[in-house]
Symmetry: D2
Subunit: 327 residues, 4 copies
């Protein structure tokens, strides 16, 4: 029997994102995982496969159709560009190429799917920005945002979003029973990516030159393994019923399998393990300035990283966009 599957490799396969990539590829119906690299674990077996981890220098990069690069931001760009020059489609999951370095395409399919088709170097979006951009694009497109007030984006993420490096701040003894903000005041490294995406959402949708709305982004570290919740306070020009919000967002995302929309507010349990952004809405009583509450939940390792990377590779390689993705 002929195997027409495409061949895939993972570079940096033992971080949390890399592990999730391997797990997704191990059960992907149209992609075969043929290597997984890890400097630290080289020679050891790769859970759920018959492979052993290779050193990067031994990985047959030129021999695959797609490489997923799951290295830390700062260490990723060089490896991704070198891999790309060897031939395969490259999906870089770090923040290194998200401003288009090396010709990379910023790939958030629900907003800019056409960019992804036929792309050869893909910058996979950040976990926080994915939820924020999916949440806000319909509002920016419809012109209902009040520009005189900032959008407040209060977010919280599980620890796997911070990577698997041994840092004291991420020890169980530190994180357990704690909760705190970090990177506040629009100083988190995802802020430029959020701003660029919001500006483009404004542009792309209504033809005006793209100017991002003002916003304030505050991430917090949650004592959970995975999942992001983003509670967004959206200033409106005039009040909007929740049912109208659901209708507007539902129309915008009609046919999108990876966006869940409802009146109920999602929690982490609703999305962990699934390649979706789940959105819920609420109005606000007893406040003069019309404001819509938008709550977005997503799995930082899935739609926020490895799942979206598979989705993007599926598109770029001409496969079924949802192949291999738990929904």
């Amino acid at each position: 029997m002929v195997n027409n599957n495409k061949r895939a490799g993972v570079i940096g396969a033992t971080g949390y994102t890399g592990q999730e990539m391997v797990a997704l590829l191990a059960r992907h119906p149209a992609l075969d995982l043929v290597f997984a690299s890890s400097e630290a674990e080289a020679g050891k077996p790769v859970r759920g496969t018959r492979l052993q981890y290779l050193r990067l220098e031994s990985a047959p990069v030129a021999d695959v159709d797609v490489v997923f690069v799951c290295l830390p931001t700062g260490a990723s760009a060089e490896v991704s560009l070198r891999a790309r020059s060897a031939g395969p489609l490259v999906v870089d999951l770090s923040a290194d190429l998200r401003e288009g370095q090396g010709g990379a395409v910023y790939a958030l399919p629900e907003l800019w799917r056409e960019d992804v088709r036929g792309a050869q170097l893909i910058a996979n979006p950040g976990c926080y920005p994915t939820g924020i951009l999916v949440s806000l694009a319909p509002a920016l497109a419809s012109g209902l945002v009040d520009p005189s007030r900032p959008i407040v984006i209060d977010a919280a993420s599980g620890v796997t979003g911070a990577g698997r490096s041994a840092k004291r701040d991420l020890l169980f003894g530190e994180v357990s029973e704690d909760f705190k903000a970090y990177g506040v005041g629009n100083r988190h490294r995802h802020v430029p990516e959020i701003r660029a995406g919001l500006a483009r959402s404004a542009t792309g949708m209504n033809g005006k030159s793209g100017v991002a709305p003002q916003f304030i982004f505050t991430p917090h570290l949650l004592p959970v393994r995975r999942g992001i919740l983003e509670t967004i306070y959206l200033p409106l020009k005039s009040a909007l019923a929740v049912s109208d919000a659901v209708a507007l967002w539902s129309e915008f995302y009609a046919g999108e399998a990876c966006v869940d929309i409802g009146e109920a507010l999602p929690g982490l349990k609703d999305v962990v393990g699934r390649n979706v952004v789940s959105l819920g809405f609420a109005d606000v009583a007893d406040v003069e300035s019309p404001t819509l509450l938008v709550v977005a939940a997503l799995d930082n390792l899935m739609k926020g990283a490895a799942g979206q990377a598979v989705q993007n590779a599926n598109i770029a390689l001409g496969l079924d966009e949802l192949a291999g993705l738990p929904l």
Copy 2:
């Protein structure tokens, strides 16, 4: 040796708040715990004491100087009023008397200490409102809040804030690895208390008739046992440096031992087990509308409940205000 200590009792001593009351009173230098009531555990020993739980009908309410009533909201008012009529000072920790029912005094010492001196029936503030009112009173007094934008109060609480009743939503299997909003859109039962306190803060401080600023309050349930974090987005008439904010808040709370103020943002670990509200500040880059980030952390069972109850009883009984309180 003569024991000049005052005598205290706890009604509803096996909920999370009641347990904390018992633990605090067991080591209070000037209050002796003489009874602890529990219908469910009557006859069993009270941890850390030589007492046994009594049924309420057997509790010597008339024989103590102060009774702390730790019953659920809705079941508390009647018991508190009956206890009060028997003689002792009563501190009601539920929400039942916070609108002044039965002549109760709303007792948040850092803002309205004079009300507490000599009070005989005390409504102990809610956990969320305590952090919010302590955070915002200096801003309201100084007139720097921009009334055209709502104050956004994004809050998260550990599970002990929801009580110890057996509810499916509070099972470990539900709460662990989850995070979600509840009571959103200014529909949480603490909202009227917050509004009343903010209105009074505006009044009391600047002589104008008290009108609460507009605000949006969104609580979330955290997978931790105890602790509240409140991330507050304060709209300002004009920008304020963090150092100036620290100076303003520090001056307002000069001499207050139960308010911590600094530039660093507090987390739950900084406050659990201590009778304090800890406040930190941050400015916000790249936003047109001047906004100050105020982060408040407190232990919902301590400064948010039992600790503040002790503090209030100390004041009302003429004891050292900080006696028996871990700081």
Copy 3:
């Protein structure tokens, strides 16, 4: 295109086991989930499907090939027997039928697969017993156990093993940061099932009349959602090298896809989400009485409940035994 799939229903679909059953059936390649019953959630949508929960009285039991009954022990037998009389294969996941009530077959495929083929009423094994019996059957068959000393079985389970009923002992505020033993001294309700299985393992394997070895079983409650670890101290007639233990167990389970065997000791992370029992071995230094340490890990909801139920249904229905099972 003709759908030759078998049809399946789940009774009691909103407990932890029921939810896992639904999730497994939703992606099973050869079984179609056609109903899921829940008295409490009737009319609400079933996550991950297009179904709504039905009341049991409305469930088309006679119209399916297999029904999985996920009701609490004590409430399950009657429903299972009535369902069986309506026609379909019934798999009862409670403890109600594990002594063969109603003609039920005790179905642990790796030990007694032949019993399962063609069965019409299946008692799915308990979570603790599954790990214990899989761990000990090879030792009992080989006659290496020293009968003069008890086998010590020290076990720990995540909270989902205790069901989803609202009980104070299972609140997050109680379980988090705690760890304790329960049902100690061979008084846990799984003890008769363990004893019966051990006796049969001794019989079936070596032809002698089956007498269970003496054992002591101590379960503990872990602050995790899912997973069981069983640390077993196996008294031996004479010392056994770890490599020899691995060889003996590997030979016993040759060809079994749902048993992992290795020298490394497994933890919960190695098995959660997978339909396996993972076994590891260690010898013990500086002890006179030869003892082998056997550590078993399994997911209480998967190989300990829903996964094994699917495995059993696959066998009884003549499907691929591993169809729909994550390994």
Copy 4:
């Protein structure tokens, strides 16, 4: 007013044990904390005090009455011996001096209190051994242990027992939702300390030459911050009723404030924050070989480390043994 308090210092004050030492000394009625050293945090304020962390080279070691050395095992002996030569009583909390190096006294007051009086160099016992020795000494003294079977000691500890160094295995993302054994087969570094203590317990109590009973020790890593539970399977020459066990252990520890004894089995919640070992007992049904279940719980940072260090210093300095200790 004259302050007759003794003066104390802490070396290695930012690890989990060091933090607990500082917290205990900050509220000790007869010891004043005058320095806390930390190379990493030098110059930063010490929580709950008016001190700043000093580098060790700047710490006034010669100027205090007692120094608590909380450095990692391996790095501690040299510092402790140098500190001792400068004059003060030294309590070393590592494992470095537990075999009597440098003339150190092994100080477990409930068993060998006389050794501690007037000691000048104290080796504070390990957390696991403290619980084990307190559990087993009465049994060894009374001669009821069956020497032909090993004592099985199945133990589990929270993560703070492993220190605060940044190690991948201790990340929240690794430990959360996991549970596994480590250092099995009597290979944990505490085994020699356990063996020596058991041998001495046998000697000291019954006058025979001390030979440790055979035992098997298996520690596990728990997803909690603090607390140790030790489930001990004690082989007996003949059966013992639980009430008789309670009586025997209670008599042995008559007057000891830091040992709790009862029929109920303790959990971590019963001991965290308290300087006690809590013991419970159960008999075992349906087993031929008489076996008593002894469950010990203690807080690894309190009676397992910093609390016991304070208790020992109190004794050696002639203070009230329980001064400053939460019970």
